[in-house]
């Protein structure tokens, strides 16, 4: 496959009011292989939160594309990210999700590494009759080419030619700030691991997080339940997002940023249902009236291609890990302000569980819709998708007043009533997709498989 073949899968002609992608982009294993090399292993990928390894020698394991990674805090408190593979014969060095260890001993031949990734023992090295040159080589764990932190969010890249993390994140930083600043002492993860897989391409998840058009279709059954809870007789009284936020008169907007990041947002007509509202006075004093409104509003951020923050029912962080062209693993996290009152924390947790995860009452409807799409994509003759067109005539280049208020400089802005159901917000991801693919082909001199 040549770059021209890749480029021909995206029809990007905004001046002619046209944008589409070919279904093959979701179904071709060769495209997936290139995506792993040039996108997931070609840009900054989200690794986790610094608070997942708070103490010296704490570690947690994760992935950059197909590559196993361990993030460790060394004796001096410095975080580092390494390929989680022994330099000797390649076995994973850390085999649990998280833990604390001064020394990690590979279980296969006992090579040992400290928490700064340094090799501290090659078993029986003196007796090993190594060539003298062996001692000159580094036996340390391989560091990721880049590792960076933005306000507790950790990112790594196995590719060397990436911009500085802050530059890469660009306008997405403002949306990360709107989460981190919710607590006077920052935010933390609520304990409990959530993960699932779906039989569909990873880009379905990327798109869905910015898709408001599906809410009143795929989640209709959930909306009915939320409505019914308002009746006097209802035994289950949990108040949830959706019933008023998804109405036609509610102002919604979207921004696209450089490097494929996107954000959608909506004014929240019932901010009092949000757990964060319990601390609204403290928030107004600390961050001001307008930022408080932004925090209480609904916001979905995609940090392309691997991480999403959905701040609606509760504050959800998703990590996307593509497994195959038609299979994706998701890890979900519940983010909450440090020091939140226990009753508010419980309210937050119940809201989170109600909506999110494969056991919630909204996420499964998304997941199964993705699976139905993946099956539908088998119909290759219906080549071009028509799901990138809503919003075209409302799209504007650069920032609008909402962007200026937030202090961000998006590539495009759009604002309108909820019913616009903007789809132009998806274009940014595909433009970054093309950019990263092009760069990948350039890096390998076009020497991919034919």
């Amino acid at each position: 496959m040549k770059f021209d073949d890749i480029a021909s899968m995206v029809d990007d002609c905004p001046r002619e009011g046209r944008f589409s992608v070919q279904r093959r982009i979701f179904t071709d294993p060769e495209v997936f292989d290139l995506e792993m090399r040039h996108i997931y292993e070609g840009t900054w990928i989200f690794l986790g939160l610094a608070s997942q390894a708070p103490q010296p020698h704490d570690f947690f394991t994760t992935w950059v594309g197909r590559q196993p990674v361990v993030v460790m805090r060394d004796a001096d408190g410095r975080l580092g990210a390494f390929l989680n593979t022994c330099r000797h014969r390649g076995a994973q060095v850390c085999t649990t999700a998280a833990g604390n260890a001064r020394v990690h001993v590979c279980k296969y031949h006992s090579w040992a590494y400290d928490s700064s990734g340094r090799n501290v023992d090659v078993k029986l090295s003196k007796q090993g009759c190594y060539a003298p040159e062996f001692a000159q080589r580094s036996h340390d764990l391989t560091r990721l080419a880049h590792f960076g932190e933005y306000r507790g969010f950790l990112f790594g890249s196995v590719a060397a030619d990436v911009p500085a993390l802050e530059e890469h994140l660009g306008g997405a930083r403002a949306f990360l700030d709107l989460v981190v600043d919710q607590g006077p002492q920052g935010v933390e993860l609520v304990p409990g691991n959530l993960s699932y897989t779906y039989r569909g391409n990873w880009k379905l998840q990327v798109e869905n997080c910015a898709d408001t058009y599906h809410l009143t279709s795929a989640h209709r059954s959930y909306m009915s339940i939320v409505e019914r809870r308002k009746s006097e007789q209802a035994k289950h009284r949990l108040r949830m997002v959706g019933s008023r936020s998804w109405k036609s008169d509610v102002v919604r907007g979207s921004f696209t940023f450089g490097h494929g990041h996107t954000a959608i947002w909506g004014v929240n007509p019932e901010p009092e249902i949000r757990p964060l509202y319990a601390q609204v006075e403290e928030l107004r004093r600390r961050v001001g009236e307008r930022r408080t409104d932004w925090m209480l509003g609904g916001r979905n951020l995609t940090v392309y291609p691997s991480m999403q923050l959905a701040d609606s029912a509760a504050t959800l962080m998703r990590v996307i890990r593509p497994l195959a062209v038609d299979r994706t693993e998701m890890r979900l996290y519940c983010i909450a302000p440090v020091g939140e009152a226990p009753d508010v924390r419980e309210y937050r947790i119940r809201q989170f569980e109600d909506f999110f995860n494969a056991t919630g009452m909204a996420t499964p409807d998304d997941n199964i819709a993705y699976e139905q799409c993946q099956t539908g994509y088998g119909a290759e003759q219906a080549e071009w998708q028509q799901g990138y067109d809503r919003g075209f005539s409302a799209l504007q280049d650069g920032p609008n007043d909402y962007a200026r208020e937030l202090g961000v400089e998006p590539v495009t802005s759009l604002v309108g009533p909820f019913d616009v159901g903007d789809e132009t917000v998806f274009h940014a991801g595909y433009r970054e997709w093309i950019r990263l693919m092009r760069r990948g082909f350039q890096r390998t001199g076009g020497g991919e498989r034919s």
Binding site: Y196, I349, F352, A358, D365, A369
Partner: protein
Amino acid sequence: MSDWLQAASELLYREASCLDEQRWDEWIALYEETCEFWVPAWKSEHQLTADPRAELSLVFYRNRAGLEERVERVRSGRSPASSPLPRTHHAITNVRLQARTEDAMTVASGWTVHEYSTRTSQSSVLFGRYEHGLVLRSDGWRIRRKKVVIVNDCLPAAVDFYSF
């Protein structure tokens, strides 16, 4: 002792058949109005979350209204996750009486649920253990507490009350 165990087993098997045969009103009626239904999350390789007020669960309800809502959602036909509904088979094993008083008992068991999607013709399996808190009413035993541990917790795309 064996009478108690038999009564408990019969109730567990009946619950399983209600779920597999989609007799959901009968399933709901097995539960007390005020009942705790809890599916904890795992927080490490071998440790479950222990406090649903401060930690994540997969499902946590303090009364059966949550179960009623889920049944209603499936019946609405408007949820892509459950239309068409998968077929399921619940197998209950290792039933043990853990504790009992005159009119209550705690029962532990193991479960396996095979789920078959008519949409994709694919089967999947979840497995784990149950703990049932049962109470004797004038017309028979009722569930007032159920804890479901899902052992293989990297879940498929949609998991609902009939999946475990």
